[in-house]
Amino acid sequence: MKKLENMLEHQLNEGQSVTYPDFESMWERIEHKNTTSFHARMSSGSQKQGRNWSKIALVSSFSLLLAAAPVYAAVHYNWDTMLREKGGIQAALAQNLGQKLDQSVIKDGVTLKLHTAIVDENRTVILFTLDVGQRQDSETWRVTEMTLKGAEGGNSSGEYNYLNWDEKNQIYNGYFESEWTPEKDTVNVQLVTNDIQAFSEQSLDLPLDIHSTETQSFPIGQEGMRSIEVKPFTQGQEKMLFSSAIIFDQPEAKEWAYPNIVGYKNGTLINSLPGGTFGTPGEKGEYTAQQYFKAEDVSGGQTTYKLQYMKKEKDVNGPLSFDLQLSKKQMESGTIKTSLNLPLEAGETDYTLENMVVSPTQIRVTVRSKDIDNGFPYKKYALEVAGKTLEGNLWRSPEGEPELTVLRFERPVDLEITKETPITFVAKYKVTQHGSYKITKNNDDKIPLLLTNISQKKQTIIQQLNGYPVKWTYYMQGSDLYVETGSEDARFGGINQTHIGLGKERILGKPLTVNFAGDGNNKAIDVYKDFKGTEATIYMFYYTTDDPDKETRVQIRL
């Protein structure tokens, strides 16, 4: 037996041919995840990307940030690590198109230094560093409300900043990005930031019973939070939903506390699944959240729950401001503006690609919708340029023009574009909306569904919508009526919101889940508080259907 033991020791240890992965890029992913997940939580409130015609804005900016978690090759630190998603900015820096700023402000031992500005026809980006002195490993810093101001510039739209901890140099690298761009070549503006703050992650035991469907209430008494109410739901076989609401005694703490529920199974952290929503204000101003967990992750074994939140540790009070003269002149030679007016789908007039601006850092495509109630109907969008595929991000609509959708595509470092370069716009995964919030005469497009014998007992009705079997489950809990909808067919996208009755008598269901078009989850829950009666005629505003294989391609000539 000794022989075998020796063999094992030899085989399992160093020196044997285990091929190790690239630990350097793993480290970057870990760092990125650490910063991103925090930043996604931190910036969801202030960052306003997404579409301003819907309440979805908050969370779409969220998913935009979370969706970016890919592969990167850069090994060195400094800007490259931080700018891994910003190939266009890297390209501009490489070509020396950046404008040197070199200005700094010191307050309470913290130094904020602006290094370089990159200003072109599509956006303004300012690179900065934040030196916080002795930083604890548990500390996460952020810069609040960084914005461009001044007579000639700044409109606070689409502004956000991002910080990335540079372990090697013990400093934060950061960038500020705004969709604002100067009207003329050179303008005077101010970059202002409110506070610079440090946070630590804290947690509190949450003795949650997930087998009870009752609303469970726990005191918190930390970081301005008084108490939390959690209601678990089972969603199909595979998911659990925790719908929670936190009452804040100190409402401003909502800005930074970012509470969320995590599980621990046998000591191992179980994070909720992507797609949760945080911070939607409830009826009484409470902070509500919906988090999904994989049922098998939380079932069996010893699972305990904690409320994780950020505690404010330090606060460097601002405002801190910098006077800047920004110029986009250097970038002008590499900029091409083209008006397109091409249909998104051949033979259709519902959506038109209106124009395109190619700047040294980014490509921006504007799409016009005929109907402002229907957003851009595809989930994925890319540009194919000279053999490269550039994935796009959906941006907010310009102020007062909800019919426009702005798609932005980051330029990779080594991509040359001239007037002769062929470009193809490709959109995939179509999500079609059926119905809308608009009220038509006599509500003649509304399909009624009768819920009978409403009681504590769960009852189901299968409704056929466009060939999809949609399951409605309804039941009373306490004095509230719960209506759950969903379909086993994944191509059914989900019902956005229901209401009982029509016209003035109409009662709106309060969605417990935040329902997105094309998010792959077609299960929704509406609650009707203090519902009286045993029958109801129920309607919906709209539902969506998904066509993951649908693709449209548009050839573009600059």
């Binding site: 094992l8 085989q11 399992l12 240890n13 285990v18 190790y20 870990i30 995840k33 372990e167």
Partner: protein, 186 residues
Amino acid sequence: MQTNRELFEAYNKDVYRTCYYMVHDAADAEDLTQDVFITVFHTNRENVEHLKAWIMKITVNHCLNHLKRKRTLQQKISDNLYLFKKSPEIPVERLIEQRETTMEWAKYLSQLPVKLRMVITLRYMHDFSLAEVSDLLSIPLGTTKSRLHKGLKVLRRILLEAGVQIERKEGESYEKVGEYAGASVK
């Protein structure tokens, strides 16, 4: 206290190797390693005395959860097929191939029931004492001892069937090994 980066540099190989031998899949092991460090960084470690043991405990838990998730009845049966077969029918070419590559050790280990694999990996990869292994896995010392013993016996049989040479001491018969193997499935 070590910084996150220092901790990562010091233990990334240990964590990865453990994951690799536990789950027998390079991509899964890489993902698990990443998750382990994210958990480590998110946890307050000020009062942790024995860092390596603590990190290995987190690693072990991640691997167990991963294996539990992956495990269907079918896998259970196919993983343990060797226990039901009298004489393994492995073609000669494959035997040679297997002997040639040390990577196959991950495969041999992956044929061990998880509980046994865990003990063997911790004991022989990281040289933890039996008491430390008990502590890490939260099992009594006696259980650790018997799992280690059982693990070695079963592994011995797996290796012999795969054609790997181990010097055999006199008096140990294959039948006895077979009994242990049978017992571990129950």
